[in-house]
């Protein structure tokens, strides 16, 4: 772990080497990632990521909001999977409150989370291929992504910052015709994945740029805190959805794709197979969607229906109280982790018994995954750095928060 002790400086350390600054405004760093590279010719000798350009202080802002007001903030953390953030935060607060969520809400959460995973992986696949030089994959991926964004818009009124989950359930009943549209998409999508694979998996240029590139062993990946496809690409068989299930994931049948090579191609294969598994889970969720309410029976926490507010005094009072003074959450602390498209996303929420969270901390999967980058890239060519960044599926919003 040589990079841990190395100090970044813009002065070259040896006569042979020079310092190359990459980013923060660089199209292949997927946002505002800055890398300081010490290079010997075309070979990277040392790498030092420099982050913080997108730091917004969301954790501090959360402490000044009521519990329910934090939900829209969580969208902005990892902007490629807003619903996964919503889910993780809601699960954490529900655990603090001891709330039981009705089955339909849980299944809807799974359905939307798997769609989010597909959405996020499509952006990853498109941009990753674009970085390596396969332009057309990007257009194909964004065509399907558009369909998913329309589904999100239909269910929540928003394409990207959905905020559809609420503490205690869902914001709204899914609209009429929603499930038919999801099913239509789910039936078509597997053939689209074949299309992407036709373009890439057997493509000799793609395999030359990805096979054996940016390798990392399972021991290194574990020690550096990598999770998700970055860890599974190195052969560690661990997925929170299967191994520590939440929100009724235990009722779904799915395989966890792993690959033992630990290179860019292995991580690519893991994610592409995850696309197929996720769409199968969407199908299962559609087939088995339970009937019933979408909100928990907890009037002090969950906002009442609009109809009841117009006819019942009590509902109106509860609504007024939740909006103006929030709801008190019993003191305690909870760490809730979910499998985001990038790995283990965790929310650590501490309550001191008032209506505002005392501390909200997000465990960002990308922050830990980023630490593997120097190990992957040191000793390799500069062109491989671009492939490596794409392969860990980096989202700077989540890293900097």
């Amino acid at each position: 772990m040589a990079h841990l002790t190395s100090i970044p400086t813009l002065e070259p350390v040896e006569d042979r080497t020079m310092i190359l600054n990459m980013g923060p405004q660089h199209p292949s760093t997927h946002g505002v990632l800055r890398l300081i590279l010490e290079i010997d010719g075309e070979t990277v000798v040392r790498m030092m990521p420099d982050i913080g350009y997108l730091h917004t202080g969301i954790e501090k802002t959360c402490e000044a909001k009521f519990y329910q007001q934090v939900v829209p903030l969580t969208d902005r953390i990892d902007y490629l999977c807003p619903l996964t953030n919503n889910l993780c935060y809601c699960l954490a607060v529900e655990k603090l409150l001891g709330l039981e969520i009705p089955p339909k809400a849980q299944w809807m959460r799974v359905l939307l989370n798997e769609l989010t995973r597909i959405n996020s992986h499509l952006v990853w696949l498109g941009t990753h291929a674009l970085d390596i030089g396969a332009m057309s994959v990007f257009l194909y991926c964004f065509r399907e992504r558009e369909d998913i964004l329309r589904l999100f818009e239909m269910v929540s009124g928003q394409r990207m910052m959905t905020s559809y989950f609420r503490i205690g359930g869902l914001a709204l009943e899914p609209p009429i015709g929603f499930f038919e549209r999801v099913r239509h998409f789910a039936n078509r999508f597997p053939s689209k994945v074949d299309e992407y694979e036709n373009l890439l998996t057997g493509n000799p240029i793609w395999t030359m740029r990805t096979k054996g590139v940016a390798k990392i062993t399972a021991e290194d990946a574990l020690a550096l805190g990598a999770s998700g496809p970055t860890l599974r690409g190195s052969g560690v068989d661990f997925d929170l959805r299967r191994d520590m299930p939440y929100s009724s994931y235990e009722k779904f049948k799915f395989k966890v794709p792993i690959s033992t090579d630990g290179d860019v191609f292995a991580r690519y294969m893991c994610r592409v197979q995850e696309l197929r598994e996720s769409i199968a889970m969407v199908q299962q969720a559609l087939d088995g969607m339970p009937e019933g309410p979408i909100k928990a029976d907890a009037p002090k926490v969950v906002l009442p229906d609009r109809e009841k507010m117009k006819t019942q005094m009590e509902a109106l009072i509860y609504h007024f109280k939740i909006i103006t003074e929030g709801f008190a959450v019993p003191a305690g602390e909870v760490y809730q982790a979910v499998e985001s498209p990038r790995g283990e996303m965790g929310y650590y929420v501490v309550s001191d018994g008032t209506a505002k969270p005392y501390r909200v901390h997000m465990r960002a999967a990308c922050l830990a995954n980023l630490q593997t980058l120097p190990t992957m890239c040191e000793g390799r060519l500069i062109a491989d750095v671009v492939a490596a960044i794409g392969s860990i599926d980096i989202v700077l919003g989540e890293i900097d928060r």
């Binding site: 913080g52 730091h55 655990k95 191994d243 501390r359 901390h361 465990r363 830990a368 630490q371």
Partner: protein, 165 residues
């Protein structure tokens, strides 16, 4: 699942693999333990955190080989003011445990666990950056998210939400 009262009696929690291991090694290291909402928290004495982490990572029955997170909570005006929180995960046994270290407010410092889990590198830098807790033995303890010349530690409770301006 209605909330159950928290269990804080060390005798009742002895059967948990992490607590059993720590108590067998050094009862003085374990200050307190708490089982609440299906999660176990162990308060470790500040001087023993590094050794306790080595012990838990290398425990053959339940190896906590994955450091999920390091963070901090500021309990101003209480003393000891800071709590550094470590979330460990055992990938083979699918167990989680939370370790906590209490630090006083005047010059908060604790041993770094970077040499045990290199993952702690960024996590500890983030805590240093936002809370001003020093990690002794950290190879590169500098600000991570805030600018290098920033004054103050934004996530402390006495730091205003809008910042000083």
């Amino acid at each position: 699942m209605p909330l159950q009262p928290a269990i804080t009696d060390l005798e009742q929690l002895k059967s948990h693999p992490a607590i059993a291991k720590l108590l067998a090694w050094n009862p003085a290291a374990v200050e307190e333990a708490r089982f609440d909402r299906d999660e176990i928290s162990i308060y470790i004495s500040r001087d023993f955190i590094r050794q306790a982490c080595v012990l838990l990572r290398d425990n053959p029955e339940c190896p906590f080989n994955f450091l999920a997170d390091v963070t901090c909570v500021d309990w101003l005006p209480q003393e000891p003011r800071f709590e550094v929180v470590y979330h460990l995960l055992s990938i083979s046994k699918k167990e989680r445990v939370r370790l906590k270290v209490r630090l006083d407010g005047r010059s908060p410092a604790v041993d770094s666990v970077t040499s045990i889990w290199p993952a702690a590198n960024y996590f500890e830098r983030e805590v240093y950056d936002l809370f001003g807790v020093r990690f002794t033995g950290h190879p590169y303890l500098r600000r991570l998210l805030m600018p290098e010349d920033w004054e103050g530690y934004p996530l402390r409770k006495d730091y205003p939400v809008e910042g000083y301006r």
